[in-house]
C-alpha cells in the first residue's frame, strides 16, 4: 500500500470510530443518530444563510488555530489562547469606546480598533511568555491562570466601568453605533473583511512555518532548545516571538468577534474558540495545510447543532461530543498506525 492510501484509510477509520461513538451516545439518549446527523448537516449547509453563519464562526476559530500552530511549532502549549482572545476583544472595545464620539472616519477607527485587539492578545501572550521564559512557570499553568484573569477582567468591565446606562447585565456593554460595525453582506451576518483577515492569517502562518528561516528555527527550538542554542539560534527570543505572534492572531479573533459579530463586549466573547482551536491543532497533527478545512468542519458542527434542541430535544453540546470523539479517535488511530507500520515494515523485510 502507498503511504497516501494508508493515511486515507486510517483517517477514514478514525472518522468512523468517532461517528460510532457519538451514535452510541445518541442511542443511549433515545435519539436516532441518522436523524441527528441529518439535522446537523441541514442546519449547517442547508441554505446560504446557514453557510454564512458557519463562515462567521469559522473566522475566529481559524484565527485562534493559526496562532496556536505557531506556539505548537515552538513546542509550547499555549493554553492561554482563550484569555488572549478575550484581551483582543477588550482592547478593541476600549479603542472603539475611546474614539466612537471622535471625528475620525469610522474606517480608520475600525482599523485602529482591530490593531489594538491584535496588540491586546499579543501582550497577554507575552505575559505568559515572560512567566515561562524568565520565570520558569510552565506555559500551561501560566496560560490557564491568565485565562481566568481575563474572564474576570471582562466581567468587571461589563458590570463596572463599561456598564450600560442604568444597570450592567450579562448581555454585555452598550452596542456600538452601526458605522463602527465591520460591513457585512446584506442579509447575512458575514463580513467579508473578517473572512479576508482569517484567510490571510492562515496563509501567513502556513508560509512562515513551511518556507522561512524563522519557521525552521522555531521548530528547532521547539524540538531541542539546547541543540538549537548551540546551532546559534537565540532561543529565548524565539520563544517570546512565538508567544507574541500566537497572541496576535488570537487577539485578532477577539477583535473580529467585537467588530463583526457582537458589536459590543460580552462575557463569553471568546465563545470557546481557543479550546476548540487546541482540539483542531491536535486533530490535524499541527499541520497548517489542514487548518482551514478542519476548522470549517468544526464551525459547521457548531452551527449545525444549534437547532438540535428545537427539533430533536437534544442538547446542542452534541457537536462538542462529536468534536472531542474525533480528536480522540484520530490520536488513537495515529497510535494504531505507528504499530501497524512497524509490523508491516518487519514483514516486508522478512520476504
Amino acid at each position: 500500500m502507498k503511504p497516501r492510501w494508508e493515511n486515507l484509510a486510517f483517517a477514514t477509520a478514525a472518522v468512523f470510530v468517532a461517528l460510532a461513538f457519538t451514535s452510541l451516545v445518541l442511542v443511549t439518549a433515545g435519539a436516532s443518530p441518522f436523524e441527528a446527523y441529518w439535522y446537523m448537516l441541514k442546519g449547517s449547509l442547508g441554505s446560504w444563510s446557514k453557510i454564512s453563519d458557519v463562515l462567521v464562526a469559522w473566522v475566529p476559530l481559524l484565527l485562534a488555530t493559526a496562532g496556536l500552530l505557531i506556539t505548537f511549532a515552538a513546542g509550547l502549549w499555549n493554553i492561554g489562547v482563550e484569555g488572549q482572545i478575550v484581551l483582543g476583544g477588550i482592547f478593541t472595545t476600549w479603542v472603539l469606546r475611546l474614539l466612537q464620539d471622535s471625528t475620525l472616519s469610522p474606517a480608520f477607527i475600525l482599523i485602529l480598533a482591530i490593531a489594538a485587539g491584535a496588540l491586546g492578545g499579543a501582550l497577554w501572550a507575552a505575559l505568559a511568555g515572560v512567566l515561562k521564559v524568565f520565570g520558569g512557570v510552565n506555559e500551561i499553568f501560566g496560560g490557564l491562570g491568565l485565562d481566568f484573569v481575563a474572564v474576570a477582567l471582562t466581567l468587571w468591565l461589563i458590570f463596572g466601568p463599561w456598564k450600560r446606562p442604568g444597570i450592567g447585565s450579562m448581555s454585555g456593554t452598550e452596542p456600538f453605533p452601526k458605522e463602527l460595525w465591520l460591513p457585512t453582506i446584506p442579509g447575512s451576518r458575514l463580513s467579508l473583511w473578517a473572512l479576508f483577515i482569517g484567510l490571510v492569517s492562515i496563509a501567513i502562518v502556513y508560509f512562515l512555518l513551511s518556507g522561512t528561516y524563522f519557521g525552521l528555527k522555531l521548530k528547532a527550538v521547539g524540538k531541542n532548545p539546547r541543540a538549537a542554542y548551540l546551532l546559534g539560534i537565540p532561543t529565548t527570543r524565539y520563544l517570546m516571538m512565538a508567544f507574541v505572534l500566537s497572541g496576535l492572531f488570537a487577539g485578532l479573533a477577539g477583535a473580529v468577534q467585537v467588530t463583526a459579530v457582537y458589536h459590543r463586549l460580552i462575557p463569553a466573547i471568546s465563545s470557546g474558540y481557543g479550546w476548540l482551536g487546541l482540539m483542531v491543532s491536535m486533530l490535524i497533527n499541527f499541520q497548517p495545510a489542514w487548518a482551514a478545512p478542519v476548522t470549517f468542519f468544526f464551525a459547521a458542527l457548531n452551527i449545525g447543532s444549534i437547532q438540535l434542541p428545537i427539533v430533536l430535544k437534544l442538547d446542542s453540546s452534541l457537536s462538542g461530543v462529536l468534536q472531542g470523539a474525533l480528536v480522540l479517535s484520530f490520536l488513537l488511530m495515529g497510535g494504531v498506525r505507528q504499530r501497524w507500520l512497524k509490523k508491516h515494515q518487519q514483514e516486508a523485510s522478512d520476504d
Binding site: Y213, A220, K223, N224, R226, A227, P234, Q346
Partner: protein, 496 residues
C-alpha cells in the same frame, strides 16, 4: 550456566542486524564479543537479555531451550544485562534503584535490601551510599550499582555492553577485578566491546561480529592483527602523526577560573595558536568539560579573561563567541548537538549562513547532497537525524560545522565511533587545522587519541590543570600517572 545461541536472526526494517549467529558460551568464563559499531553486538545481547525478540533462532541454557518475552523473564532465568547507557532512575535513591525489579511481595524488604547492598558492595570493593541520589553518581558508580542489583536478583549470566565507556581508569580496574571474581565464582560473563586491549587483558575467549555475522572466534594468546582483520575485513592503522604549522594566537586564557557545583579549576594560563590541537586528558569529571564550556561562553568564568583573536570575550554569551568563529561540538549528540525529528536537510539549513528570510530549498538541497558525499554520511537529505546510526550522526555533526572556523571546541570527538570512522574524523579535523588554520581544543577519555592527535596536552586532576605538555615529549604511561594525580604539587598529594 552454559549459554547457547543457535541460528539467531534479527531484522530492523531492511537491516539484517543478526545473521544466523550460533555461539556457545561456557560457564565460569569471560566471553568477549568484539566488533565495530553497528556490527550487531548490542542487538545480539539485547536478544539474550529478553529486551528484543529474535525473528528466528533459539536460546538454550544448559542445553534446554528457553522462551523469553521481557527482561524480567530473562532475570528469572538468571540472565542480566548492563546497558551501555545505565538504565536506572536518576531522581531516585541508590537503595530504591537497587530494589526496583524485586519480583515478589507487596511490602519492600528495605532493611534486608540495604544489608544486601552493603554486603555485595563490600565484596567487590565498591563504595555505594544507599541513601545517595543516583543522579549524583558517576557513570562508573551507576554501573557498580547495576552489577550488585543484578547479582541480588540472582543473575548467573551478566552481560556488559561497552562498560568502559565513560568511566575512569580506577573504576575500570575495579570493574575488571569484579569480572574476574565473578567468573571465578562460576558466573558467565559476556563482555561487549570494540577495544582490542580490553579483550587482550580480560577475556578467556572472544567472538568477533562483522555486519551482523559471526566471523570468527579466538582464544589467548590473541593475534591482534588477526582480530583487527576479522573486525574490519582489512587492516587499519592510525597513520603518521601530523601537525599543522602554527600561526598567531587564536585563544588566550589569562588566569582563568571556572566553577561548577562539583568542581573548581583556577589559574589557567594558555595560548592556543592557529592550527594547533590541544588535548585535555583526565578522569571524567575532573574539570575538562568546564574549561571547554567556558572557552565557548557556555559557562561564565569566575575569574580571569578569555581572549579570542585579540578580542576580550570574557563573560560574553556563546553567540558572541560564535560570531568570532568559535564552534562547540558536544558529546551528547541527540541531546545537545542535533534536533530530533528534523531532517539532515533542515539541519544543514539551520547551520548554514542565513540568506534573506525565505529558504532557498533547491540551494539547500544541493548543499546537503554535497555534504552527504563529502562527509560520507549514510542517509538521505530527507532522513530524520535520529534515523541515522550513531556514527553517521557524528559525521552529520561535523558536516554542520561552517568552514573557516577559528577555534573548534570538542567533547569526545570520536566517542562511540569505530576505529576507521575515528581516523576519518581526525583526517577532516586535521585538514581544517592545515588549510583553514583552525585551532582545536578537545577532551577525550581515550589517551591514545589524545597522544596521537594533539600538539600539546593538558592533564586534569580533580580540578587542577597541568602545564601544557608537548605530545612528542610524553607517553601513555606518564599521562596515566598524571591523570591518577601523581606529579601534581598539591596538598592532596601530601596527605596519604
Amino acid at each position: 550456566m552454559e549459554i547457547e545461541l543457535r541460528h539467531i536472526h534479527k531484522y530492523f526494517g531492511p537491516v539484517h542486524a543478526n545473521d544466523d549467529i550460533t555461539l556457545t558460551i561456557p560457564s565460569g568464563s569471560i566471553q568477549g564479543l568484539l566488533g565495530e559499531n553497528g556490527a550487531g553486538k548490542s542487538t545480539l545481547m539485547k536478544i539474550l537479555s529478553g529486551y528484543l525478540r529474535p525473528d528466528a533462532g533459539e536460546i538454550r541454557i544448559n542445553g534446554s531451550p528457553i522462551e523469553m518475552h521481557s527482561p524480567a523473564d530473562a532475570i528469572r532465568f538468571g540472565i542480566g544485562m548492563l546497558h551501555q547507557d545505565p538504565m536506572d532512575f536518576p531522581p531516585m535513591r541508590v537503595l530504591d534503584n537497587f530494589m526496583v525489579g524485586y519480583p515478589e511481595g507487596l511490602l519492600l524488604p528495605r532493611e534486608e535490601a540495604r544489608q544486601a547492598l552493603l554486603d555485595l558492595s563490600a565484596q567487590f570493593g565498591f563504595s555505594l551510599d544507599p541513601d545517595a541520589y543516583v543522579e549524583s553518581l558517576t557513570v562508573g558508580e551507576r554501573q557498580q550499582l547495576e552489577i550488585v542489583r543484578l547479582l541480588w536478583l540472582g543473575a548467573q549470566v551478566l552481560i556488559f555492553d561497552e562498560p568502559t565507556t565513560g568511566i575512569s581508569a580506577q573504576q575500570k580496574e575495579k570493574l575488571f577485578a569484579a569480572l574476574h571474581r565473578l567468573a571465578d565464582e562460576g558466573k558467565t560473563i559476556i563482555f561487549v566491546t570494540h577495544k582490542l586491549e580490553e579483550v587482550e587483558i580480560l577475556c578467556d575467549q572472544v567472538a568477533v561480529l562483522r555486519a551482523g555475522k559471526l566471523v570468527g572466534e579466538a582464544k589467548p594468546p590473541y593475534d591482534l592483527d588477526a582480530l583487527v582483520e576479522m573486525m574490519f575485513g582489512k587492516v587499519v592503522t592510525k597513520g603518521e602523526r601530523v601537525s599543522a604549522p602554527l600561526g598567531k594566537p587564536v585563544l588566550q586564557l589569562k588566569n582563568l577560573a571556572v566553577e561548577s557545583h562539583r568542581i573548581r579549576i583556577a589559574g589557567v594560563n594558555l595560548e592556543v595558536r592557529e592550527g594547533e590541537v590541544i588535548g585535555l586528558a583526565g578522569m571524567e569529571g575532573s574539570g575538562q568539560r568546564q574549561l571547554l564550556r567556558a572557552c565557548a561562553g557556555l559557562i561564565r568564568p569566575v575569574e580571569g579573561e578569555i581572549w579570542v583573536d585579540g578580542h576580550n570575550l570574557t563573560g560574553k554569551p556563546y553567540h558572541d563567541f560564535m560570531r568570532h568563529g568559535v564552534a562547540y561540538v558536544p558529546a551528547a549528540r541527540l541531546e545537545e548537538g542535533l534536533v530530533p525529528n528534523l531532517t539532515l536537510l533542515e539541519h544543514m539549513i539551520l547551520a548554514d549562513e542565513q540568506r534573506g528570510l525565505i529558504i532557498d530549498r533547491q540551494a539547500a538541497l544541493d548543499l546537503t547532497k554535497e555534504r552527504i558525499k563529502t562527509f560520507n554520511i549514510r542517509g538521505r537529505p530527507h532522513s530524520t537525524i535520529e534515523s541515522l546510526s550513531g556514527g553517521n550522526q557524528q559525521r552529520a555533526l561535523l558536516a554542520l560545522l561552517r568552514p573557516g572556523l577559528r577555534l573548534l571546541l570538542m567533547e569526545h570527538p570520536t566517542r562511540g565511533l569505530d576505529m576507521e570512522s575515528a581516523i576519518w574524523v581526525w583526517q577532516t579535523l586535521k585538514r581544517r587545522c592545515r588549510e583553514e588554520k583552525t585551532a582545536i581544543f578537545f577532551m577525550s577519555s581515550d589517551l591514545e587519541e589524545i597522544l596521537h592527535y594533539s600538539d600539546r596536552i593538558l592533564v586534569f586532576f580533580s580540578g587542577q590543570v597541568s602545564e601544557p605538555i608537548p605530545a612528542t615529549e610524553t607517553d601513555i604511561e606518564q599521562l596515566g600517572q598524571l591523570i591518577g594525580g601523581r606529579g601534581f604539587n598539591t596538598p592532596e598529594e601530601a596527605t596519604p
